[in-house]
Symmetry: C3
Subunit: 306 residues, 3 copies
């Protein structure tokens, strides 16, 4: 598999995803034997127009484990400052003369696409403005489900949190819609439930889904809880906002209601959506998920660099 750019979740079909997961498995073996030096002659630029230190460190770790070199800035907005005023396109063209791959965190939706349109070297989207895409997160989320449960098809998956604005929840749902017999439980207050664009996409693909207000009700049924953040200010006008939000949370008390082989995921960072006393339960998969991010990003770097 040779990928040109990693722009959005939509560019991946199921066979490509499966090939990527195989490559990520291989990358795990590379990682566990201490990495490789195979890419020592390749340079990755971390071009971040807003700080996203977690994502940046994940990509840079992946590149280090491949033996590659890194040049890095979280200060890229300086390029387009009032005094400098360079267009994103010009910055990308200049970096084309320097490096072999660009990991781009744009501060505007669609920035990665514009970057790719002028780039001869691969662009990887590391988050694209506030409401935009973050495809590598979606892929590592899906990879985690597949790795932990060995399949995606036929799973019951709860997705919880602020689903209206939640970038990771939206992207994961999109990818899940490509698989067979998946059943999705959207757990959120109605005010910030999953948007109609995603729901009609699911309708078109005949994916079963339902909306739920209290996560407790559906815990016995699900194989995966994908927990995300929910900001109280988003429903502050509702009476009992605290109470409503608490119905999304996972605590130790919930564990006994879950299947013994279910998993709990979270893209992190978390606030109190998952209490820390859940962490020691074997089903808590969120730190393994962070590790999987390294494998997926190694696989994506290999796919675009080779």
């Amino acid at each position: 598999m040779k990928l040109d750019h990693i722009i959005e979740a939509q560019q991946f079909n199921v066979p490509m995803i499966m090939e990527l997961f195989n490559l990520a498995n291989e990358m795990e073996r590379v990682f566990l034997r201490g990495g490789t030096q195979d890419y020592h002659h390749k340079i990755m630029a971390s071009l971040f127009y807003e700080p996203s230190t977690r994502t940046r460190l994940s990509f840079e770790t992946a590149m280090c484990r491949l033996g590659g070199r890194i040049i890095s800035t979280e200060n890229a907005k300086e390029f387009s400052s009032v005094t400098s005023g360079e267009s994103l396109e010009d910055t990308i063209r200049v970096l084309n003369e320097y490096v072999d791959v660009i990991v781009l965190r744009s501060n505007t939706v669609g920035g990665t696409k514009r970057a790719a349109s002028v780039s001869q070297i691969p662009i990887i989207n590391a988050g694209d403005g506030k409401g935009g895409q973050h495809p590598t997160q979606a892929l590592l989320d899906l990879y985690t489900i597949h790795k932990e449960i060995n399949t995606i098809n036929g799973l019951n998956i709860a997705i919880s949190g602020d689903l209206e604005l939640g970038r990771t929840a939206r992207s994961l749902t999109y990818l899940l819609g490509k698989f067979d017999r998946v059943r999705i439980f959207f757990v959120a207050p109605e005010k910030i439930q999953m948007s109609d664009d995603i729901l009609s996409y699911l309708d078109k693909r005949n994916v079963w889904y339902t909306k739920v207000k209290n996560i407790e009700e559906i815990l016995p049924e699900v194989d995966v809880v994908y927990q995300t953040r929910i900001d109280k200010s988003r429903i502050a006008d509702l009476p009992d906002a605290d109470e409503i939000i608490r119905k999304q949370f996972i605590t130790k008390d919930h564990l006994s209601k879950m299947k013994s082989n279910a998993i709990i995921m979270h893209p992190l960072p978390r606030m109190n959506e998952i209490s820390t006393d859940v962490d020691t339960d074997r089903r808590a998969a969120y730190f393994r998920q962070a590790r999987n991010g390294i494998y997926i990003r190694m696989a994506l770097l290999v796919s675009v660099l080779s």
Copy 2:
């Protein structure tokens, strides 16, 4: 050629420049075959007292392509903050104990010279305050002319923009003055034309030059257009400031008036001094110029490290 420090354009005579260009040609071959690991035991410190991400990434790319290691800060003003209060000299002395070469972006004119005066390891000037020197930019500009046209002697060169404050325009003019039969057209509103210190330097060396207000007039004659930025606020008090500025600009309409083997350069970042529809023309050399910056900086690093 063994260089101690790279402080200012003045330290280079023509034979040194030619030797440097030969080394830069060699570095291009090294770059194109994937770099070298020869300098894996060398560490470069990027010591930036003000952010200049483009310059920093260019130097760091050059060091990576040589196989060297990098420690880096764009936060160096912290060293001389009110609470810390360390002198530049002390910071340099400490870094002497750590690394093999320092790339210094000072925030005061003359900072690099002060740094070099206490340093046992090479200091490379990566921009020296607002009006100060930026010798590696001047060298890569000159290298680009030489590489594209195969000579400097006898060329007709237009230098356009805010010439009074323009650091790159001043340094390039200085270096051009060392070559034979060069003719220079300074294109700028009179208010921000090239300063007398540079003009009398040219007079002393019998270099032909003239001042021009409208770039269009001289386009058919020139081999090189060196375009730089011009900030409207600098001539805002003039009536027709917009009109005056537009006379410096290069657009697609100008291309037919230029020699077929002329080149258009720009140190970047650009605003609208060169319209983007010029980019696809073969004569647009500004992104190749950015690449040449890597070769020149690799050559300079090799010169000071070996």
Copy 3:
């Protein structure tokens, strides 16, 4: 010696310190022959919740000289920002999935201890809040004394500056208390003299010490002057604050009063506690001390990584 975490000076006893110093000596030989590539498969994370560029660059240099790789942020407070709100513990758990060792600059006292309590990989304390520990500085200070004078036992040591708040002065005193027949002269205005907790620790260990106001009086007796910063605002309410502070300073005039084989140290950065005309004297050890920081940090990295 296999160390798990480097949290505080207290975890080191004299045999461990001596073993560490032997390893640091070995690291000096590694450094002088150009470093090693032995740790090319190891990644160090620089996780700085507040900028401390000097300390960060020292650790990163040490890791580079070992051949290791680095991912780095001085922007770690972003992890625990209002919008992100991640706990230090979660950040550490995530980095456990990425790298092999974490160099942590916490912004709260006790942060490193909390980090270590959830970490499977080594944590190295690179400064722990304002009044907290900075054990690698204390170890490199002690190492410098030992390397320059070949012993710690029996030495007369002046420690000067703001001793009440001075983290390095406190930690060094603590470590000195473990050695034999050390005599300590605390040079400071009474208002900011060494605190009682440290003094009673010395009393318990029968370490001889005295308090002094004027450094000049004891210069002929001491083998080591450990100079630190003193901020005038801390004694601004005293009449003659300037005069009082000046009595701590070391100038060229003092040199003739010192033993010929004494040494002058400073953790740096300095303001005017040591005048620059002292720098060229052989006894001025503070820049060698900075170099020793690399050897000690290489030794500590090797101790936790192997």
